[in-house]
């Protein structure tokens, strides 16, 4: 008996026959397959819209490994400048290159100052505009604030007055 396009059994034996037929039909595999283009185009469009919304053209800085940046409620846009990083393990990096151990650098800052001066002189060679005196400072949130402030003092004496502290915006 057929009801609304599907088979319906009137008694137990007919039910058994219908079930057997269905089971046989499940065993047959389709040779080819069709790609559901409508769903794929839908998914692509949604992905494109989402990614376009999250797209940002502002400059980005690399966060060094071993640094957990603190969160901030009032962040500004990051500016393109050299990046100085103070890691949790106590190492100091300038543009991802190891300068030395922070404690030693704070006692004897000549190594860092030489590298900062090189950046300044390279800038003067390639640009006609005055040096912007900006630097990005990354530090782990567990690092002591006195260590960060001592490094800031060194940067100020090296004529890097505008210090951008890297944070994670909420």
């Amino acid at each position: 008996m057929r009801l609304n396009g599907s088979l319906v059994a009137s008694d137990a034996f007919e039910k058994h026959l219908i079930n057997r037929r269905r089971k046989r039909a499940w065993g047959v595999k389709a040779i080819g397959f069709t790609l559901m283009l409508t769903s794929m185009v839908d998914m692509f469009s949604m992905l494109v819209v989402f990614l376009l919304q999250t797209f940002s053209s502002s400059p980005e800085i690399l966060v060094s490994k071993g640094i957990e940046l603190p969160n901030s409620l009032t962040p500004d846009i990051v500016k393109e400048a050299p990046v100085l990083s103070i890691n949790r393990d106590g190492n100091l990096y300038l543009d991802q290159k190891l300068v030395g151990i922070t404690k030693q650098i704070t006692k004897k800052p000549s190594l860092l100052m030489n590298k900062l001066n090189t950046i300044k002189s390279d800038w003067a060679k390639s640009h006609s505009t005055p040096f912007p005196a900006e630097i990005n400072l990354q530090a782990d949130k567990e690092v002591s604030s006195t260590t960060v402030s001592t490094v800031m003092g060194m940067l100020t004496s090296g004529q890097y007055q505008s210090i951008q502290l890297a944070v994670i915006g909420r």
């Binding site: 185009v41 999250t54 969160n71 901030s72 782990d140 002591s144």
Partner: protein, 160 residues
């Protein structure tokens, strides 16, 4: 067979969209956007270490604010005018978060409304301590910046 009506042939109302270039374009865009996507929102907090800012050069009556940390849960706010402390406020609480909220209310209600007059803070200076970590320092900067105190410096303290 299509039946002719009138002089011109009847146009088919259903248009077929050529899907191949459409999918090509979408996949290229998805690849480009995925490669250039930035998942962590990194911002910056500006610190001006130099003395004598544009704000202090203005002719308005301005004050300076010193934030002196004793420990993460205790600090002192010194309101200064022409280098002399005119008023001090002690902030102390059980934990750092409540200290920051207390500091925020003092800055809003007592510092920026000193003697019931709206005043302007030209520069703020933070004196850190070794017991105060960098995350706490950023939270303090947040409190000041949220109260429109922009020219902030950090004293390079030794030891403590």
């Amino acid at each position: 067979m299509r039946k002719k009506t009138g002089l011109g042939g009847k146009k088919d109302l259903n248009a077929d969209l050529n899907l191949t270039p459409f999918i090509d374009l979408l996949s290229t865009m998805v690849c480009f956007l995925l490669i250039t996507a930035v998942w962590i929102d990194i911002g910056s907090v500006e610190i001006k270490q130099s003395h004598g800012t544009q704000a202090s050069e203005s002719k308005k009556v301005t004050y300076d604010l010193d934030v002196v940390f004793k420990n993460p849960t205790s600090l002192r706010l010194n309101l200064k005018r022409k280098g002399r402390t005119v008023k001090s406020f002690n902030v102390k609480s059980e934990n750092f978060e409540s200290t920051m909220s207390q500091m925020n209310s003092i800055v809003q209600n007592k510092v920026l409304k000193y003697k019931n007059k709206a005043i302007e803070i030209a520069t703020a200076t933070i004196t850190p301590r070794s017991s105060v970590n960098y995350g706490n320092l950023i939270s303090t900067l947040d409190v000041l910046r949220s109260n429109k105190i922009i020219n902030i410096g950090v004293l390079s303290a030794k030891g403590q």
